[in-house]
Subunit: 829 residues, 2 copies
Amino acid sequence: ASIPSESRQVWQKFGVKEFGGKEEFQQEFIRHVETTLARSMYNCDDLAAYQAASQAIRDRLIVAWNKTQQKHTTKDRKRVYYLSLEFLMGRAMDNAMLNAGIKDITKSGVADLGFKIEDLLEQEPDAALGNGGLGRLAACFIDSIASTNYPGWGYGLRYQYGIFKQRIVDGYQVESPDYWLTFSNPWEIPRYEIQIDIMFYGYTRKYTNDDGKVVHVWEGGEQVQAVAYDVPVPGYGTETTNNLRLWASKPTREFDFEKFNAGDYESSVRESQKAETISAVLYPNDNFYSGKELRLKQQYFWVAASLNDIVRRFKKTHRPWKEFPDQVAIQLNDTHPTLAVVELQRILIDMEGVEWDAAWNIVTNTFGYTNHTVLPEALEKWPVPLFTNLLPRHMEIIYEINLFFLQKVEKMFPKERDLLGRVSIIEESSPQQVRMAYLAIIGSHKVNGVAELHSELIKTTIFKDFVTIYGPDKFMNVTNGITPRRWLHQANPKLCDLIASKVGSYDFLKDLNLLKKIEPFAHDPKFQDEWVTIKKFNKARLAAHIKQSNGYDVNVNALFDVQVKRIHEYKRQQMNIFGVIHRYLSIKAMTEEEKKEATPRVCIFGGKSAPGYYMAKTIIKLINAVSEVVNADTDVGDLLKVFFIADYNVSKAEIIVPASDISQHISTAGTEASGTSNMKFVLNGGLILGTVDGANIEITREVGENNIFLFGHLAESVEDLRHKHRFSDVPLDPNLEKVFNAIEIGTFGDPNIYVSLISSVTGSDYYLVSDDFQSYLDAQKLVDQDFKNKDTWVSRSITAVANMGFFSSDRAIDEYAESIWNIEPIAMD
Amino acid sequence: ASIPSESRQVWQKFGVKEFGGKEEFQQEFIRHVETTLARSMYNCDDLAAYQAASQAIRDRLIVAWNKTQQKHTTKDRKRVYYLSLEFLMGRAMDNAMLNAGIKDITKSGVADLGFKIEDLLEQEPDAALGNGGLGRLAACFIDSIASTNYPGWGYGLRYQYGIFKQRIVDGYQVESPDYWLTFSNPWEIPRYEIQIDIMFYGYTRKYTNDDGKVVHVWEGGEQVQAVAYDVPVPGYGTETTNNLRLWASKPTREFDFEKFNAGDYESSVRESQKAETISAVLYPNDNFYSGKELRLKQQYFWVAASLNDIVRRFKKTHRPWKEFPDQVAIQLNDTHPTLAVVELQRILIDMEGVEWDAAWNIVTNTFGYTNHTVLPEALEKWPVPLFTNLLPRHMEIIYEINLFFLQKVEKMFPKERDLLGRVSIIEESSPQQVRMAYLAIIGSHKVNGVAELHSELIKTTIFKDFVTIYGPDKFMNVTNGITPRRWLHQANPKLCDLIASKVGSYDFLKDLNLLKKIEPFAHDPKFQDEWVTIKKFNKARLAAHIKQSNGYDVNVNALFDVQVKRIHEYKRQQMNIFGVIHRYLSIKAMTEEEKKEATPRVCIFGGKSAPGYYMAKTIIKLINAVSEVVNADTDVGDLLKVFFIADYNVSKAEIIVPASDISQHISTAGTEASGTSNMKFVLNGGLILGTVDGANIEITREVGENNIFLFGHLAESVEDLRHKHRFSDVPLDPNLEKVFNAIEIGTFGDPNIYVSLISSVTGSDYYLVSDDFQSYLDAQKLVDQDFKNKDTWVSRSITAVANMGFFSSDRAIDEYAESIWNIEPIAMD
């Protein structure tokens, strides 16, 4: 503001503009090759060309980013901050070009210079900073927030190593580190000047200050520094470019002088290097809690840096503290960022001198909490001793929060002594544990589940007591969604073009309900033809990938049956592979005549297991063992092929999803909170074979029950069935028994490998594989039959797509904005 | 070469040009602010402005760099590779602007935008990748190689932490890590695509191949990756921009699958992170060997990466191996890169199938070795067990080299059995040791010392036997030099302008002998006046620094007496501070009349001690203790002030050097190989108080013995004196005794701190402090007297400068080029 007008004129004269046409892009491209990369036309390979093109596109995003941030600062409206420990972004380049509407000029621009845009896109490593659905949801959400012009930032961690790379060696999953930053990352802007000191350990003390007020101090601990890396998030069809800020840990420049006496120099340098490990690795667990101290350090590091940043921004506006919730909404993606509740309370009472009650009022009006699972093994709990050692002041504050909360509960329900123990943030186990979900509920004004069934279940099971205490209005549902930009526009450009030809524009990419306009063409033969052609093209693209990765040619006329997602017993890939074995045995038993009637099928699996999850790894081994036997069996021919595609990730999903005829979403009822890949498959014209679980239920409601294959027991029966398994003798499903026999006689190699996998079913069968098996086989039989009727199949596919409007993440974000965050869009002029 | 002509046209149309005028610079500056840094005029502080300006200048260097490399590749002449474990570069921005001749336009360009160039320069952290003289010599040499148009690269390590930061706490040195890359480094170009696998550990085996040849294989070890970072080195007044390639260690992307089974994932990620520590820290020892395994790992890592790179470049020319020495000269800066000898032999015989003798002939014709010290504690030796474990194949090759060498010696001197043991590469101690200097001599065609006395000493002491074996011609002298660009043009612009006014141009910056042209003005009163004014300006600049860092005002008319260099007993800062105490005691004993006659003096110390070097740290403590007492003593007033300037580095040298009246270079005769700061001080018009040691001798010859204050025993007396101390009772110098008494009665605080410092002198007095003390005091008295005669003093100063032409590093590089490397300049058109 105090810039002299002569200087201002120079700044304005040379201000950077977004490149417009092809030549301007080329100029930028060459500039980056010749300066940023210090190369020339003589040594510019595809990798260098990808980097130069990315830099040019990135510069353009930054200009829009700058405008957006200035606009948002000027407007000074309420913003949302989405705190997620995972952002599974995948690749950025294609998305940036498509959202910014510059794919044509860049494609033609690099072509003139001798490059194919597809080759350049292949150079980019996935930003794989997440495990599965939770992380990908966060990525879809920030795309939607930008595309719908909401002022909102994501906050996460900049892991040096994303989710591990999976290789299959001798049928087993083998992990290797994902060093994704090897060739640097053009899609991030390091903000070296934003360095925030974060403390751990130490001790607390209190004193009475001159005003007679008791002040708490936390001191004497270890310090590390959080450095910000900003990832521009371009909206589609808008200049709004939001920010995803990821934190990396670095050594502080302040040192404990005591340590640095003679000879200690080398070890103290090593000490300070250790700071960098905090944000080094993403924990590779999905829907599973593991209580490692480093994980808690990651959480606090990230939460403290983010809140410091948010508070600093708020303080610049010089508003009174009570207006904080009018300016700031913070969404907790699962319990991982729950410490934010405590940290904000700490900032307010210890650093800013706000009174406890006023502070707590601010805190609870700021936060919203999204629950993602009811699985008991996934619920975060931290041992009190570990917690107290790492974050002594936070532990004190939690005790206080808990005390006030329990006093309130005791007042409301004076006779229910048991209730107090059940809802206490501190679990009275040995050692005591901090129940993070309870802390999140108590510290937020809204708690939501991610699909209708799931939101009901949390109210009736794990959080039942809190509904009693807070009433039902605090608990709500926001069904997940997916961004049509990545999952249709980018992954399936041909289908997108076909849809646009009927909708009349590409507006459906911003208003997905417009898909409804293709429903009238569900039975139009020409439209059906084009639809089928595109599906085949996509299947051929996947077939080429399988040829390259697994070495087999596959028949693109076969039914492509896909289950790609994390490997988990509750997701029941074991049921799928048992079904494949059953199919194999059936084919082996068929006459040649029967074979002619059978529907050829390609069964495609993909997904990672947590490295320490023995049962999941056994499932992967079995899939690969079956694959080896079946694919080599000449009796079977095209009737059945089985593939495990290694290292499933976002980029592979973009190839796999558009190629499915059927995808499987077959979790035991009541276990999958929502699922989002089910939405992606249907949006691309694949039908679902699924259980009555998660968002399958709402997909059924939207697309009609004729356009989905449901099977299996319902959630309400699960507890009874489990009880029966435990206390009475439940016979094994006879078809499943045949499958187990085949395994046990060594049809798929050493049967000893699969003993515990089988006995988990023959024993307690916690995931009800045996109970659902016949129903599953019946549904599969129906799929086989229906697939033969091509006309009906394609019309069901079109109808399903036409009714998927609801599952846009734009809709989900509107719901959050309206009923939790209370924010409004800010359009760019 | 196979680029289609249409593409070529586009590349050429948008090819990047070096910016010419101010506006072009401004445009680049603003572009970098608004894109690279993602900032705007509203949040561009000095740091961001420094970064943007550096990026703009860097882009310009890269264009020249590209042209130079293309030219050198096309010309295909012999290049030199200067291997140095240390490159003490200091700051890059001012040097780049001055060498490229664009300081005026950048200065005025940023001024228009509201910035002062001096403020921007202050933002840059020193690239402090060295300990002292050896590292700074390498930096001067690569400046000279570029400025004189020789095709030559530097190869070093990209330490994440340079030499530690020194702070003074309670008078003691305290070290803290130098995390110089915090805000990223605009002066390096990461070459992520140049990734070289480096192996450690493992085992060797041999087999006979189909041709009946025995082939040796090294396998099964740990792997890390070397990634290249290129630092452009712009010549002065030429477009030649050479390359300094620094290697950083990264984890390889290849993993040992065996390790990666269930649950091992996290630990294996940590494992791979450990790879990064290889190049993390510079060892903070100067002239001292410490046998840490990590140090040997650093050496091999760097040498193997560099040789791989050099060999790759050679192989592109498709010449026969025997022409390697016609294309490649490699200079070993000290013994640190001696493994290069073994590595090249290994590449040739194990990987490229060259016969041993032919290979060894190539090796010895390629390498030259520069010795930097005769101090026994600095000679590198590696325990054979450690070496064998880390580099098993190299150990085998060393045994072979040694065997063939000893066989030759035995043939030449059949009767001298003892000789074999004395010259063996393997020292027969327990454990056995690899003598790196012997390996370097045997593997090189030339061995040089760095000043005349030093080059004589190596021939008559440590390498005597090798002169007997190889004859004297293998051993030579190249006296060190300094680059006048940094040490005159950059550090002392006013003096530079004054000199140019008499020389008629700035050509003396490229041909330093032209300084001779100012000698006629040594007695010219006007010239003297201007000379004195500039000296005072420089003293005032230093005084301002002292005011800021040490809190005292100093009198710029006082004699500025400076000793800045690593703290070492052999460099005898202890003698200096004892002399200061003597001076203090004398002043305290003076009458007021005597005080009026005394010469006021400001004694300035600076330098780092190795963190584990107790005696050196005690010396620092004593200097600070004396400083505290003397500076606070009102009896003394302006007559004596003592300062220790913390964290001496290249940037501080640029302020300190031009401000000295006297600088001290007072090592025990025969211990300092050359010294180069002595040259810097004289070039800036300061006189030397020094011993007859190192390059002081040649400075005396050049500037005349009237223009230097020499004192002390000569090198040839040292051994006798030490013998006397050991075997007879040598009385302590009486003046020194008084000094010790003052310390012992607590004049400078707790005397117990200094007990071992004093007894090292009263005992064996290895460094002859007592022997030289009276002579030192006499010389100091002469300095006091002579300084009063201003006219004589300034004429001596001018005369000295006029005769410093010899000490340009350009001259030194010409000597290396002519007599060791056999390379010729390649002028840019």
